[in-house]
Amino acid sequence: MAYPPAARSSPPRQPSVKVILASADVQRVVDRIAHQILEKTQGAADTVLLGIPTRGAPLARRLASRISTFEDVVVPVGVLDITLYRDDLRRHATRAIGPTQVPSGGIDGKRVILVDDVLFSGRTVRAALDALNDVGRPASVQLAVLVDRGHRELPIRADYVGKNIPTALAESVKVTLAETDGADEVKLYGGTHS
């Protein structure tokens, strides 16, 4: 497992931007999660990957394609939009809803792995669990995230974590992917504490 170089202290005044994962790192991390999924699920049998929009969706497709490269198994991939299940729906202007695509085989009795880019408060995952409830009854549900930045507000943890990034609440983590933003990168936008 590749550990990050020790955090350097950034110059105090201006807000800092730090690249946590560069393009090649993101690909290595995705490869590692794919291997871990194969290991933990005994070859990804009866497994369905569901990406949470926006960036969970391409991540899920990448994981499926890496898994089929490594072990020659086809893992069904889908997209699970959680907008209508959010607990903060009423606190914002109406949000546009995204597509939900459940693989044709359904999810009943399968092992569903939810895929998202950043795990933070855990509220997105809670909404995804509720949404899953209305789509079918999986045998079990796991969670894979590219980045875990801590500060959970709900009793939720990930089964597969690409990278743990200790953060302050004032900081923000931004994941960009080639499919949605043109390039793979994980950046930490600093707060004012340092």
Partner: protein, 308 residues
């Protein structure tokens, strides 16, 4: 997002497209075992119907319930309205009960606009007099887009009693916003002078159905309202049906891909023959199904967030 949906003209192209896209996602819920979404949990939708209606009221009720809203049905018959309560007092009563949205159908054109000034919640026009019926226009546009893949550049003939049709008015407004070209077809007595220019420049008027048919992508037949027949807008039902009814031979003169629509309820044998109504080109049943998805989208976009 807008606060009320009163007219087809309330929607610009972006908002209308957002509603249609949202409706497409809502439609996938209908295919699931659990046809329910939690988005409007704890919100109250009142169906305020001063006119008889089956499909529109049931469609709004199904849409609100699929989004987990509480639905109160209020029909004028057997209510305080029968005792002489005014629209304003009824509105204030609903307001006091905490209605988040009022879906209103009223025989007077403009009643929903008045209502919108009296209540804090959102008002959705479900048909007012001979004025507008915007959710019908949205579900028609949705159906056209689903069948033909696009709306921009489509040629649509709206045939029949345009004078009394709120469906026609809302469709002309919405379809021209979305880039389709509408031709109003019917006897001169049933097409108001200058209506095309008043609603949307670029709209055509024709009194000859047979001349229009070969060039259209969509034919939308309007119901001939039986109560109008005694008002001498046309000499006889048979003559109307012969000149403006859609039968098998006329349908076969349409382009290969063209579809036939009708907002319902139909008078079979009057404006449309059973052969046409039951043909694969007819979208009449789909329109009803799509109506629920489109109304879910409208209710979600009006009530789902904090838009105040």
């Amino acid at each position: 997002m807008i606060r009320h949906l009163l007219s087809g003209a309330d929607l610009d192209a972006d908002t209308a497209t957002e509603i249609l896209d949202t409706a497409a996602e809502m439609a996938t819920v209908a295919g699931r075992e659990i046809k329910k979404l939690p988005a409007l949990r704890g919100r109250t939708v009142v169906n305020l119907f001063y006119e008889d209606s089956t499909r529109t009221r049931i469609s709004f009720e199904a849409a609100a319930k699929r989004l987990s809203a509480d639905v109160i049905n209020f029909s004028a018959k057997g209510s305080s309205v029968a005792k002489g309560e005014s629209l304003k007092d009824t509105a204030l009563t609903l307001q006091a009960m905490g209605a988040d949205a009022v879906v209103v159908r009223h025989p007077a054109s403009g009643a929903p606009h008045r209502l919108a000034n009296w209540v804090d919640g959102s008002v959705v026009n479900a048909g007012d007099g001979t004025h507008e019926h915007p959710t019908q226009a949205l579900l028609d546009a949705y159906t056209m887009r689903a069948r033909l893949g696009r709306l921009a550049g489509l040629s649509v003939a709206v045939v029949g009693d345009v004078l009394h049709s709120r469906v026609a008015r809302s469709n002309v407004l919405l379809l021209s916003t979305l880039g389709a070209k509408v031709t109003l077809v019917g006897p001169p007595t049933l097409i108001p002078v200058d209506i095309a220019g008043a609603l949307a420049p670029g709209t055509d008027v024709s009194y000859d159905l047979d001349a229009v048919l070969p060039d259209v992508d969509v034919v939308m037949m309007l119901r001939v309202q039986r109560e109008r027949m005694k008002d001498s807008y046309f000499p006889s039902a048979r003559e109307y049906s012969r000149r403006y009814g859609l039968d098998g031979p006329r349908m076969r003169r349409l382009p290969e891909h063209a579809i036939v629509m009708h907002p319902g309820p139909m008078n079979r044998g009057m404006e449309i023959t059973p052969e046409v109504a039951d043909s694969p080109r007819s979208t009449i049943v789909e329109q009803v199904t799509n109506g629920v998805s489109v109304r879910m989208a409208v209710l979600y976009l009006l009530l789902g967030g904090n838009n105040r």
